[in-house]
Amino acid sequence: MTSKYYEFFCPVKVIAGKAALEHIPYELTALAAKRPMIITDKGVRAAGLLDPVIAACEESGIEIVSIYDDVPPDSSTTVVRAIAGIYRKEKCDSIIAVGGGSAIDTGKAVNILVSEGGDDVAKYTGSGIIKKALKPFFVVPTTAGTGSEVTSVAVITDEAKSVKLPFSSPFLLPNAAIIDPRMTLTLPPHITAATAMDALTHATESFTCIAKNPLSDAYAAAAIKKISTSLLKVMDNPKDTNGRLDLAEASTMAGIAFSNSMVGLVHSLGHATGAICHLPHGLCMSLYLPYVLEYNLETIREPLGELLLYLEGPEVYSATPSSRRAEASISAIRKLRDALYKRCQLPRTLRETGKVLESQLDLIAKAALDDGSIMFNPKEVTLADARTVLRRAWA
């Protein structure tokens, strides 16, 4: 009898491509929603990204009843409570989150309050607390990296207690994720690079960590292929609509992959570095990825070698001896990072960030050991191991 076992779950309808936003009215109507509320941030609104969403709805006779555009980068329980109050006052019946990870997580948390009732979202923190379907919820990502549109988790800060509250439930997943290339066309180069590297890390860790499974592998491989093919094209030509769509789809696919097979040490170190040094998550992912792959190399040689096909294409893959493919995959990722550094100075080492002190490495190593994702890393990471990886990533 086989010893293999896995679970895979993604009920989110993905609506992707040209004129995808114009499908929102139909999707709302299909769920009998008539009074949607948009949750977003000031940057998204200032960039004019709400205009096509609003126009698409109004053209089909659906009025956006309320727009909350003040979601901060680190959303809080206070913000969630305030938005839920507006939702109730305006008698909204559905939510459209337009933005990056923070707007999407806020949308998920607001949906808990307006569906379950009450004003204290902290009551629903943890896993499996929510037992029934929430209000109709749609997500329009404006970055191509987090994959939050297909993950069943949200993190909201409780300002009073200074803690981050995790929420986890399949009911947090949106009814649909709308991936429209118009929403990422104006992303600045360094954010395009960092978020794409975030997605590449999601896919690579998903493919090499211990919860990998055949279905998540398929999504991860496809995501890596799209990023390898399109990232530099988009960096050179930001208005490349097809390339933008490739990156947005890759982010969603990588999100589906990692939410079903988890991530490993790159994320443990990244979460710790983000908390201690306040570096953006995507940048941390790009920075640590090759060093962690080198550390894990002997336990992930086979899957990492397979990724060469998607990172470099069939010619390079077939010309590389199988015993060297894993190293060649790491080289391909390093080459990509060098190309990004040339184009937008995306840091490749902790020293290059200019925001991390060498004296903070020990603190980062210790915090990384307490991160949940470390459980899924293929190698058992000790404090000494984490210190060694950080030392290599330093310069």
């Binding site: 010893s3 076992y5 896995y6 679970e7 943890g126 896993s127 499996g128 995790p166 960590c209 211990i210 919860a211 097979s261 988890m262 050991l369 307490d370 991160d371 949940g372 470390i374 459980m375 899924f376 293929p378 190698k379 058992e380």
Partner: protein, 181 residues
């Protein structure tokens, strides 16, 4: 016919095995915290009075230990003096059996969604490392390699033997004391 008769007995034996292993593990956790400096150091971060539980859903066997400070744990058996802080919950007794009979590593069981964590995940990660450390001491190397993600090469045989002997002695003493009480 015979298979039908044997099956309930096998299921009963499986439950008894899980119950026994929980009793051994709970006592061994208390014992290892009294003999191993690494475990004590890991535990120092936990808040005093922290209650940790491993159980089988929905209301199957369980073990509860309390962190009493200075790196030490106290085994409470199956009942907690108050609500627990972190609970690792096997979804089914079959999954607990897979792990406790060393057919599936603890880390792989997490990866396979055999169990859930209720509570602060960072404490659960720490407690898993402590459990791994315990298993490397009390199990023969060949079996320990099946139980933990990576057997620590730095653990030499003399240290393993001495620590294991001290842990087993403490576990046996605790069992005797429980019976007497």
């Amino acid at each position: 016919m015979l298979a039908k008769r044997i099956q309930p007995m096998a299921l009963h034996a499986r439950r008894l095995y899980v119950e026994l292993m929980f009793q051994v593990m709970g006592r061994a956790l208390q014992a290892v915290s009294e003999v191993d400096a690494d475990v004590q150091e890991e535990a120092l971060v936990l808040p005093e009075g922290f209650l940790f539980e491993i159980m089988v859903m929905p209301s199957g066997p369980r073990l509860i230990v309390e962190y009493t400070g200075q790196g030490r744990f106290h085994y409470h058996g199956e009942s907690a003096p108050r609500s627990v802080d972190v609970s690792i919950q096997f979804k089914h007794i079959a999954h607990a059996f897979l792990v406790l009979s060393f057919q599936e590593k603890t880390s792989q069981a997490f990866a396979n969604d055999r169990m859930l964590v209720d509570g602060d995940i960072s404490y659960a990660v720490r407690m898993t490392r402590i459990l791994n450390r315990l298993e490397t001491f009390i199990l023969p190397k060949l079996i320990a390699k099946r139980a933990v993600k990576e057997y620590p090469e730095s653990l030499r045989l003399p240290q393993k033997m001495i620590s294991a002997a001290r842990i087993y002695l403490k576990v046996a003493t605790n069992f005797v004391e429980t019976v007497k009480a």
